[in-house]
Symmetry: D2
Subunit: 369 residues, 4 copies
């Protein structure tokens, strides 16, 4: 029953439900001396909901205001646990009351009920709401600030929505400057517009869409990644599957590698300006579970939002008989754009932990004057 923490040296513990008092995160193991403030975390929080095209999303547009409750003093982390939280304000709980016994298809309603004996908070999806990624994002904000001190850059973006796909992997600079200019969180703005149109179309039809989120990690030094079970790709994959709706994860060539031959897939090593690199990057920056110094490329498959307004077949768990359900309430026709910052945060948390574990980040960042 205890799985709400991630990391071994940089540990994030998430708490909160969709309609509870607060959603928050506690970071334990952040080195002392990192400049950090509410401005940092607010910037990340503000990217969660695309304000450009609110029609793409559910009715719940919550302006979350992050509060640092501990662990920061005079603008620097102290080495003590950092708790950051937001209040839940926009809670319209009545929307969900009438379907308590009718598990929504492809939702966690049924499995959560089995696991928690029916005691789970049902309001707004409770602990299983996508809103819980707010905690991940706030924790990721600390991680990203820490990584940025060591020049490591984590950039997630939408690679595809439904059948609309970006043709090729964008440049780091393109991702950085363009991603958040589009509501779809796709750095190719023309492609983004098509994605947004397809979401609106799906919404009109009472349907939903999935997609693929890609993440590019640059400047991670070679040598990050622990042995065997705590391989860097293993822990990154684990982190991604904690983001709601992720059903697949791949690195570099990923599933396409299964059809390639060794001579095609093996990235040849080369010397470039006195540094070792590889000519291609089918391995996605990780070899033997350890970073190679090449950019890490990860893709996560996001399933279409389970909540759709079309009528669906389900069961009535009180009467134990077949039933129908029309999911009303607020729901996004496509969660991919909201998943982008959550995935970025989950990856950043994992990288901060692994950078510390591999000895690339010291336990204290200098001495205070």
């Amino acid at each position: 029953m205890a799985g709400n923490s991630t990391g071994k040296e940089f540990i994030a513990t998430s708490f909160g439900e969709s309609h509870g008092a607060k959603i928050g995160v506690v970071i334990d193991g952040c080195p002392a001396g990192l400049p950090f403030s509410e401005t940092d975390v607010q910037a990340d929080l503000d990217r969660r909901i695309p304000l450009q095209k609110l029609e793409l999303f559910s009715g719940r547009i919550e302006k979350d205001v992050a509060q640092i409750l501990s662990g920061v003093f005079e603008g620097f982390t102290t080495g003590a646990p950092i708790c950051i939280a937001v209040d839940n304000k926009e809670a319209r709980s009545q929307d969900y009351a009438d379907i308590r016994d009718l598990p929504r298809p492809a939702h966690s309603d049924y499995t959560a009920r089995v696991k928690y004996g029916g005691f789970g908070d049902p309001r707004g999806g409770g602990r299983f709401s996508g809103r819980v990624t707010v905690a991940t994002i706030m924790g990721g904000s600390v991680a990203k600030k820490l990584l940025s001190k060591f020049d490591v850059d984590v950039l997630a973006y939408t690679r595809s929505i439904g059948k609309i796909k970006m043709a090729k992997q964008p440049s780091q600079e393109g991702i950085r400057s363009q991603t958040y200019r589009s509501a779809a969180r796709c750095p190719d703005l023309a492609c983004a517009e098509k994605m947004e149109d397809s979401i609106l179309e799906a919404k009109k039809e009472g349907e939903s869409l999935g997609g693929i989120v890609e993440c590019l990690i640059t400047n991670l030094p070679a040598g990050v990644g622990e042995p065997l079970f705590d391989a860097l790709d293993a822990d990154l994959a684990k982190a991604l599957f904690s983001v709601p709706a992720v059903k697949g994860v791949e690195f570099g060539g990923g599933f396409a590698l299964a059809e390639m031959r060794g001579s095609e897939a093996n990235d040849p090593f080369q010397m470039q300006k006195g540094k070792v690199s590889t000519e291609t990057n089918f391995s996605g920056g990780i070899l033997g579970g350890i970073s190679s110094g090449m950019p890490i490329v990860i893709r996560a498959a996001i399933k279409p939002t389970p909540s759709i307004s079309k009528e669906q077949r389900t069961v009535d768990l009180a009467k134990m008989e077949n039933a129908k359900i029309k999911v009303s309430g607020r729901h996004d026709p496509c969660v991919v754009p909201k998943a982008v910052p959550a995935i970025e945060a989950a990856i950043a948390l994992t990288l901060a932990d692994h950078m510390i574990r591999a000895g690339f980040i010291p336990k204290v960042l200098g001495r205070k004057k």
Copy 2:
């Protein structure tokens, strides 16, 4: 540097290198009272190397004999840690000595050297050898015996090798009876033969192939899976990425879900003989990180073996200049068949841990008479 253990309540710790004295595993947290003997683990070990067509594999055909060193008394587990090990006998170390400074493309040679300062055991791949999966398999043997007491069945098999693919997911019975009749570990024996031919062809050309391993888990009760970061799919994916050469993992519909619409992807619930199930299984048996009671379907993408006999470009790390390498030594043109039991074992270890964590397996299996 400590990542050689997996699990939180059923914990497997792996040790050993390709050419060291022993390869072994310690299982901590196995309930007392489980019937278990060397016969059980030997049966799993014997499935590692396909004896039907040895020409498909490297020259190193080692008959591993498992020894239980602790934790079992008079045919039952005692509750104390179970150590199982095999001796390394077939070690021809000279094969690798001349290429110590030439990292093999797509291998961990380079990253391991960076991480371990050059102190790693280079013989036969050392700790990064595929042979290390012997420890996983022995640990998995305990896990599978434990799971079998609770009727949970874990069956991995080859779904594709290179471009040769099984048309559809086989039945549980078919997998159980046919998989190990083929050297390719594919339950569709006609397809298996084509796979084997393609491996031999690749071998002849100095090439290598990858493929996809699929795993079907049946009878897992609904309600297994911990919250958020320790979601069942998160931990299963993590376990799979600890198996060498895995570059992608997906559940149920997986990456295909990214292109589907909600009404197609949502598995409708239904009552069947008084039990809740779903009509389809695009979610692959896991909802919200918790098992639904439906079969779990996982796929892992395996990259082509990095070791190929064709000449490749690399760097000389002593001279820091570009170089060429022709990997001699023994290597398999396709590791997919050997990956099948390793993946099955990694999954079994994770499931045993999660079954205990979720309370489905008690701490002691009865009282001794």
Copy 3:
């Protein structure tokens, strides 16, 4: 740097400093279905400061009001992480500003400065303040409620203050009814009065006192305690040393056993009403790291409060030379009474974790109607 969590299945994570925004705790792994509310935790918080004789304590008398921020719904735990927090209100930070470079003898000022590079929050002792036990107490409140469902009783009390000692171990009933009637938290009220007098006398002299806190655990079933390193006594001792000022821990006969002979120290087993017990209890209810079913008796030695108003020798860390310090500010002449509920809480947290680990507490407490 990450040590702010305790437990493996029932995990408490503490956050907050003396003068930060909030002090709180997150409990992960509490079974769903436990009746719990703010009333429960408030009752424990209210026992922290003895209101009977405020002159025994520092000027800071804070009425802490506990807020449950997550994990409880309609009066029951949900299985999600439970966050409970209080606001810090009575923060008079200027008291400490002028002694930042003068580490107080026997305080953590010096060691914390070395460890955290001077970035630690210095206000009111920051993360090292005794006030941080508020988090432990709130977490312990959940643990005690859970233990009470299984009839396990944890009762701490003052056994001695300075040289004033209770003659013998009190009865469970005596402890329960009397302990909190005295400001000294000693169930022998006559003895308590002498203790309180000695504290006042020490205070008058600018001195401080230590003492011994004893804890009696009853009704813990036999069989609780994990193997070897996670022995029940090992984890209880660890928990006690996390309470500020604890310098020694012993079980049952404790240090006195070192001078006894086997025939005196060995507790003979006996049958009583069909149950196994022991005639004496020198082992303090734990054998081989596992509970025996007898009451567990633990004692913790508390050192005298380091803050005294007498002038003391120290060093000036800015000038790196010898110096003198007179600690002003608010401080208790004896922290033993405040340590009593903190120790009780630390023990309860450990027991809840071990009860779950040993399988005595299920993962879900029933089904909701």
Copy 4:
């Protein structure tokens, strides 16, 4: 059920029973590049049994020969898990067969039977035998070698046996040169002789003795120790309670501090040769759970050996009635001398872990030429 590992970054996993095939330890997280060989571990193993006066001990004098099974290559640790094991040879199992239903007073027979359902290996105490400390000692050997690279010295010795006590704490040099010259493991050789006489006397009377083991840690830098629950003293105490027969642990002034006043107990800081130290050391080298740079002084109380040849009262667990027992078999009249190296090892394991955690030991010790 999983508690056979200790440490978070330098992790020791113990396996093996008194009469099983092997007893061993796996160290995960030891930095690569540490010179280490079987000679190192053998030296520590050889100190386990005092050969000077074998009459002080049980009949089982086993010459244990340590074998390194993994993790060391060409005289250096590789960064991979280090498995070290010994064979069990001197196993006379029949000694214990007839008392399976008669739990020996003060032994773990009863509690282990309750916990493991009777499946525990009963031969020679099985997993609960003092012989299991062989694994701790072998793991401690790696830890001590690592600590010695950083000049940290861990020296345990007998402080008292029964009522025979060393008058005062010996010098580091005295401990190092004299301790293992006496069978009692007491550096004051005159006192050691009295201790040995008292053990022989107790043996003659069918009795047993306990005592106190003290450990002096020198050169540990200031700043070692994690926050709150993972305080250095908390983890050291936990480690000590995992050594069989330990019933109390104290640091520095320990229990005596409970009776002291602040002005006596507070160690004044002073500058000495440009370094901060304290005039006295009542805090035993730890303040706020963090090392102060002063020597760490720990004492562990050891109870008298439970096995005595005098007849004792117990119960018959098959018949559930009162019974008598005379423990025959081999047993030591005093385990204190054997506990000395075990305690030293347990402490070294904890310190190695904490030195790594605090950043004082890097992840790799240099680069191989």
